[in-house]
């Protein structure tokens, strides 16, 4: 079904492309938000990804790899948004979020805060590997294919990202212990 839509879209069928975009839109936003941690930037990245996908669709050699190709475009759009976000860091936008998933009680407020801060310190390439692997649940070889980088690079980036986030949480745990000791003293 998707292959037929991709083939039609490659031949200039806008309706077919709109169907593909509707089918992928939510997933693209979810990934972009988790990499960028900013809804406005994520929406811009998704919009740019869809336009780029339409424009470059004929360069897609294998229609069965449409999803991986789209994710690669999205990740690169996220990198571009991060560059723009850094250049114009004060250009903040606050928009209502559509359909946000509820906070998980398994993650404490402090852990959430430390993860958020630790994640924002990660380079974009480590963020994208972490999100594609953990959020989409893809294997490492699949993650490498979706990002268009060698498997070794994926492993390396995931290793650094995981270590950095674990360190952030460990520091949080130490801080919590120290705080409780101070209170008891």
């Amino acid at each position: 079904m998707q292959r037929a839509l991709v083939d039609a879209a490659r031949n200039g069928d806008e309706e077919a492309f709109a169907s593909l975009a509707r089918g992928a839109g939510d997933r693209l936003l979810a990934i972009a938000y988790r990499i960028l941690r900013d809804l406005g930037l994520a929406e811009d990245a998704v919009q740019q990804t869809l336009v780029t996908a339409w424009r470059e669709l004929r360069s897609l050699r294998d229609p069965d790899r449409f999803d991986a190709w789209l994710h690669r475009l999205l990740v690169n759009a996220c990198y571009a948004e991060l560059r723009r976000g850094r250049r114009w860091a004060l250009n903040l936008r606050v928009l209502p979020a559509d359909g946000s998933a509820e906070p998980d009680p398994a993650v404490s407020v402090i852990q959430r805060d430390e993860l958020e801060r630790g994640f924002r310190r990660l380079p974009p390439e480590q963020r994208s590997v972490f999100v594609i692997h953990h959020y989409l649940g893809l294997t490492l070889p699949e993650t490498a294919e979706h990002l268009g980088v060698p498997l070794g690079t994926v492993k390396s980036r995931l290793h650094y990202a995981t270590n950095a986030l674990r360190a952030a949480l460990t520091a949080d745990a130490r801080s919590a212990v120290n705080t409780s000791r101070e209170r008891m003293a």
Binding site: A21, S59, D98, S100, E125, H134, Y135
Partner: protein, 273 residues
């Protein structure tokens, strides 16, 4: 945080939080733009699939050669009455109209198109962390096409390969990546050109071309880019013929003079005042 599974569980629960639905207005805006956007044609590489036998190809090449010689003959001086109109020169590519420029710090001079604006560097290039104001740049009206020149000292003991590795890291692994990794072609895929009579390595990226020249202890980089700063470049290296022509012509106007480079500023020796 003592086990991987514990960390994975927390991290995945945290990642699951947040928006999961794309707003209709965003999808509608994207599809509106799609409606106004033409799909880029991907021209097939005909020579790869050409089923012509070698003998036929040789004959075809010979015929083309004869025709080319014939056309050349028809356009010889004194025979313009039978040749077609003389080709018009793209004003952008007419170096006779270009403006001269001498780098204030990097040890080169060049010319740039008259319709371009020059933006001299404000800071010296210290790798890593090149930023826009470190280049001597020349741009067109829309600041989409850029010609950039820059140079820096090769670190003591560093080889050309070391420097290229550092440059690559700076580009694709910096905290804010300048270009996607897929745009940085492996060294073996680079080609060569000349700058001021010296051999230069030529790298094609997704947004432009860069030529590198090593002179004594200095490395020069000259680049041509087409990037509007908003639209991400395509994910495969490649540039337009127009940009390539402009770049190749620009390189012919460059003269290198490493002895006139100001960077690095002499560092005072300890104890001196």
């Amino acid at each position: 945080m003592s086990t991987n599974s514990n960390f994975d569980r927390i991290a995945e629960a945290w990642l699951a939080e947040g928006p999961t639905q794309l707003a209709d207005r965003v999808l509608d805006a994207a599809l509106d733009e799609v409606h106004l956007t033409r799909q880029r044609r991907r021209l097939p590489a005909l020579w790869r699939f050409n089923p012509m036998p070698t003998s036929v190809r040789l004959v075809a090449a010979a015929v083309i050669g004869v025709l080319a010689v014939g056309l050349l003959y028809l356009n010889l001086p004194g025979r313009n009455d039978v040749g077609g109109p003389s080709p018009t020169i793209n004003p952008l590519l007419n170096t006779a109209t270009w403006t001269a420029f001498t780098s204030p710090r990097y040890g080169f001079s060049a010319k740039y198109p008259a319709s371009f604006a020059a933006v001299p560097s404000e800071l010296a290039w210290r790798m890593p962390n090149a930023s826009g104001n470190m280049f001597d740049g020349f741009h067109d009206d829309g600041a989409v096409k850029w010609l950039n020149g820059i140079s820096t000292l090769l670190p003591v003991g560093a080889s050309r390969d070391d420097w290229y590795d550092e440059y690559r890291r700076d580009l694709v692994e910096d905290e804010v990546a300048w270009e996607p990794e897929s745009c940085f072609t492996p060294r073996e895929d680079w080609s060569s050109t000349t700058v001021d009579g010296l051999a230069a390595d030529l790298r094609m990226s997704c947004a432009g071309l860069e030529a590198f020249v090593f002179v004594a202890d200095r490395v020069y980089m000259f680049g041509a880019y087409a990037y509007d700063g908003v639209t991400p470049p395509t994910l495969e290296p490649g540039v337009s013929d127009e940009l390539r022509d402009l770049f190749e012509l620009w390189l012919t106007t460059i003269t290198l003079d490493p002895t006139s480079a100001l960077y690095p500023t002499p560092v005072p020796t300890p104890g001196s005042t």
